[in-house]
């Protein structure tokens, strides 16, 4: 059993949970994920590691309440337990001294990218962060990413915070103004697809973190298979980070919708306004 030791509400439907899992905390690296089961009859779902503390032996996750399992997670209180929690899984993000790096994020990505951004900054990169959200109330823990960014631009669709708009314009601006060596991108599939189309024009290598459906998370089932550079790859063991210019986005989007949640469940969640993807 894995105890919930902390819970923080980040928006109306997004929470950050801190879980006691010393073995996972000890080995965690930026970009990796865990598989968890809330109870013995639950699903196994993957969640990106948003932070960890080796001293306390805890791992933090961001939970966006979209389906039944994330709903169960969002209802947990400190002191409650998860039945199973396994990791760290997947390959860590590629961290090197690239030079100028843009981190483009939306949704839970604005929190889960922080370990990657922090490691990139420690490796000597200059970090430009671009954050998008529908509205100010959808901005999650902004100071967390701000703390590891050299510059940050926030765009909201309704203009309630930062500039009015989405990520593509500020991204283009940033690439034109600064000499960008690498882009890191975590967001909805639709957003990653459009970001990658943009950076491809500028020939800036863009790493994306994929979060397809998984069952075991260790390479056993192949539910998470995606097509990268024309080859079938497993996001759980070959990823989750891939070169976004090589990803077959349409296939990934179709596979992501294998088990659609009901419209009622969807109503409370954060959905990409451009394509309806999570």
């Amino acid at each position: 059993m894995y105890k919930v030791v902390g819970k923080q509400k980040l928006s109306s439907s997004v929470y950050m949970l801190e879980i006691e899992a010393p073995a996972v905390a000890k080995k965690a690296a930026p970009g990796q994920f865990v598989m968890l089961m809330v109870d013995e009859k639950g699903e196994r779902i993957p969640l990106t590691i948003a932070d960890w503390n080796t001293e306390n032996g805890t791992v933090s996750l961001v939970v966006s309440q979209v389906g039944s399992t994330t709903g169960k997670l969002a209802n947990l209180k400190p002191g409650d337990t998860l039945a199973h929690f396994v990791g760290p899984l997947g390959k860590p993000a590629e961290i090197a001294s690239f030079g100028n790096v843009v981190c483009v994020v939306m949704g839970y990505g604005m929190v889960t990218i922080v370990p990657i951004a922090r490691a990139l900054k420690e490796a000597g990169n200059r970090i430009y962060s671009i954050v998008a959200a529908p509205s100010q109330t959808d901005l999650l823990k902004l100071d967390y990413l701000q703390g590891v960014s050299d510059e940050m631009v926030v765009a909201t669709s309704d203009g309630s915070y930062g500039e009015k708009g989405w990520v593509i314009e500020p991204l283009r601006r940033s690439i034109c103004k600064n000499e960008i060596q690498r882009v890191f991108n975590i967001g909805s599939l639709c957003m990653m697809k459009l970001v990658c189309a943009t950076t491809k024009e500028f020939k800036v290598k863009t790493m994306v973190s994929l979060n397809p459906i998984m069952v075991d998370g260790t390479g056993m089932c192949g539910a998470c298979r995606c097509s990268v550079a024309g080859k079938t790859r497993f996001a759980c063991v070959d990823g989750p980070e891939f070169d976004g210019h090589e990803v077959d986005w349409n296939l990934l989007m179709a596979r992501r919708c294998t088990y659609p949640v009901s419209l009622e469940e969807a109503a409370s969640a954060y959905r990409c306004q451009y394509c309806g993807q999570w």
Partner: protein, 471 residues
Amino acid sequence: MAELNLNRVGMPRQEPAVRAKNFSEVALGYSHEMALEEAKRCIQCPKRPCIEGCPVGIEIPDFIKALRADNLPEAVRILKRKNSLPGICGRVCPQETQCEHRCVLAKKGAPVAIGRLERYVADWERGQATATRPIPEKLPPSGSRVAIVGSGPAGLTCAADLSILGHEVTIFEALHVAGGVLMYGIPEFRLPKAVVQGEVNYIKSLGVDIKLDWVVGNTISIDELLDEGYKAIFLGSGAGLPMFLNIPGENFCGIYSANEFLTRVNLMHAGEKGFDTPLPMGKNVAVIGGGNVAMDAARCALRSGADNVSIVYRRTRAEAPARGEEMENAHEEGIDFRCLVNPLRFLADSRGWVAAMECIEMELGELDAKGRRRPIPKPGSEFVLEVDTAVVSLGTTPNPLVPASTPGLNTKHEGTVVIDNSTGRTTRPGVWAGGDVATGSATVISAMGAARIAASDMDSYLRQKVAANWQ
């Protein structure tokens, strides 16, 4: 000596039309009378060839003799001397090619139903109160700690042997339940999960500690285990990586590896009340492959509500690697065998869901390297099969997580770990391996046999009976 009886006692089974709609066990097991009657057929021949046919060397005539004398505790003791998982082996071993194949009665009629008798004895024991079950005596503590990677048939067997020999054994299991392929792969109707958990509990009762949710290679590496004071490590992580057809359209929605499909049904209980994992079942399901796993997937699909289920196999049933009994069971339940057919590509609807499979007819040509007739496509015979769910069951290769994270652990192509077959030693000092991780996908019992060989060598190594130099 009793008169030679050439006919075995039949196994009671659920009727095909009934069992095709439930997940309960197909073969119901012998009654006490049936078991005694079948046990009487064993002539207790002096040559005892059946033992040579058993990968773990069970003293088969002796357990049958004890059973015949109605001394079931003694029959259990004899079985467990060589086999820690008799309830499992009695059900899923291919006895027809092993012990029963060697039985002297097989020359004239039906061999003694050794597997059914083994199952009977194991099931009798499981029905007894825990306190009255015979437990083998353990040697005094050796002071050595041993780590075992994976709690499938190989890992459980190795753990039981080493624990009885006095070592302190910890199993590291990646999934949330112990049992490996016995839990996620083989379906309930062929191997009830209560039987598997009964055997797992027996292993625990020997003092083995099973740590769930530990992915060796990720959560902890082999090097770290050695640093933590484990003196010997057994790698029994199986062959968990599914192979695909590598044909166009294979990643459309509704196309599963057999591993995913069976894991959803068996381990995650998809479709069962109260469980969350989904598996919407199509009307027309095609399972591609001719092994036991393909039969399991097809029969699970049928039980999960599919209207039509076909096995699509590029050779004929005569060449198929599945057990004859399992193919017959599948056939009786209404699975359609489309033999000499090979898929060429998948076609999808507008949502990216599989809608059809373009296939080609095959014919058998010359013998290949393994002595099976090679399937050859018949030009111009292409046709389209309507499917809304497809399961790819072409076999599996070892998961690379451990080899990739363990310096000095050599693998062959297809990822199998290199071992010395007489000891189970890998190329990495202090690390043994056995079962599917070393052979690629094979049987439960061959994995158990390899695990016993490794356990014996590990014990000698830990007691420094063998030279410390690692070969």
